[in-house]
Amino acid sequence: MNVIEARSLGKHYGSTWALRECSLAIPAGHVAALVGPNGSGKTTLLSLAAGLAVPSVVGVTVLGGRPPGSPVALDGIAFVAQDTPLYKNLSVVDMLHLTRNLNRRFDQASAQARLAELGIPLKRKAGKLSGGQQAQLALTLALARRPRLLVLDEPMAMLDPLARHDFMATVMAAMADDGVSVVLSSHVLAELERVADYLVLLSRGRVQVAGEVEDLLAGHRLLTGPAGEAERYSERLSVVHASRGGTQAHLLVRQNGTDGLVPPGWEAHPVGLEELTLAYLREPGAAALPGPARGRDAEHSEVTT
């Protein structure tokens, strides 16, 4: 089952396309990271999946082919929006009660236990909590709904490193205990490296990279060698991004099938997720996509906005 599936999805605001010809399929059972520069369409994609926005060019389904915003989709998807909106004048316990009233399932006991563990007082107004506590409260409310898919839009933007760690620990525990699928967008690449096992990289409203992190990492390497020879090998290898440091050149290359040869005098290193992501972010023209989406998106690598 794909928790989010888009086929030629498009959304424009006025004459600006936030998403265009966007095709992707995020399978269930993953923590999928949605990354991309500002304005690449991350929030738009998540809003469309949550049913908060209506696509300009139809083509998105959730939870195995259901339309976003349909009763089953609303029931099964817990969405924590950017800046974790809560009713600031309501107390924590009121927010619990509110969310319980608005949903079919609500695990009050586990929510309260979780809040007690975090030291969040039930009587305090949501607006008086710290940024980290507000994010944790929003996450607790979302998880208490026992969703099949948890969608988090920039959940860590407002959090300090410790709060980020705690927040992601909660997400990972829910993933392990209840098998909830997670899709989150974030700028914090270092944090994603620890948790994400599926990556979707958006660039200018299109999918640039999509796939399981394990496969992506296995499919790329960093070659280091003399800067003078870099030009020569760049033609033969599919280089995603090249950088120079003094006499050394670093080429982040994608391995296509058998061309895994290392040129003499060069060293090959495995790449990390952050490294890989940064390389693609620096080269919006490069793409690593599974199956049919690659050709189609490559044709439209120039986006007019």
Binding site: P27, L52, G65, S70, P71, R105
Partner: protein
């Protein structure tokens, strides 16, 4: 690499159809909790106005009674009583009443109606409210209808207070 799933996954229609909408009464608590300050304020305003009008009305009836009951009507004392009645209550009846009748619905609108949707959109909380299992249309309808009923009831009470 995983391949993009191109086949359409069968929609589990039976499961979807068996999903009953959440009962409307769930929204009663939600609406009350979110708007109770405005609702209590409205009740207090109504109560204060009722007391004021009742006191005014009693005096007015009293003065009117004197003015009407006065015999003979052309005597100096009676003219005085009628003049007194008119000069005292003309302003109240002719000016204050329409002013209040115009101001009160506007106040209800400002304190009850406007925050309902505008504040949700302004603070971004619609992204919370409209992604809950209750459903955005039902959520909006439930709030609009219940608050409209309260506002209409309040307006009706006002007109009763003025017309007795």
């Amino acid at each position: 690499m995983t391949t993009l799933t191109t086949r359409s996954v069968p929609v589990h229609l039976e499961e979807d159809a068996s999903l009953q909408p959440l009962p409307w009464r769930r929204m009663a608590w939600v609406t009350w909790r979110q708007h109770r300050a405005a609702l209590v304020g409205l009740a207090v305003l109504l109560g204060a106005l009722a007391v004021y009008l009742w006191l005014q009305g009693r005096q007015m009836h009293h003065a009117y009674g004197i003015a009407i009951a006065c015999h003979p009507a052309s005597s100096g004392a009676c003219v005085n009583a009628i003049n007194y009645f008119q000069s005292t209550y003309n302003i109240t009846a002719r000016q204050l009443t329409p002013l209040l009748l115009q101001a009160v619905p506007a106040l209800i609108g400002a304190f009850l109606g406007a925050p309902m949707l505008a504040r949700e959109l302004e603070t971004g909380t619609f992204r919370y409210a409209w992604t809950q299992g209750f459903g955005r249309w039902r959520w909006t309808i439930a709030k609009l209808v219940s608050l409209a009923v309260v506002a209409a009831a309040a307006a009706e009470l006002f007109s009763l207070l003025f017309s007795w």
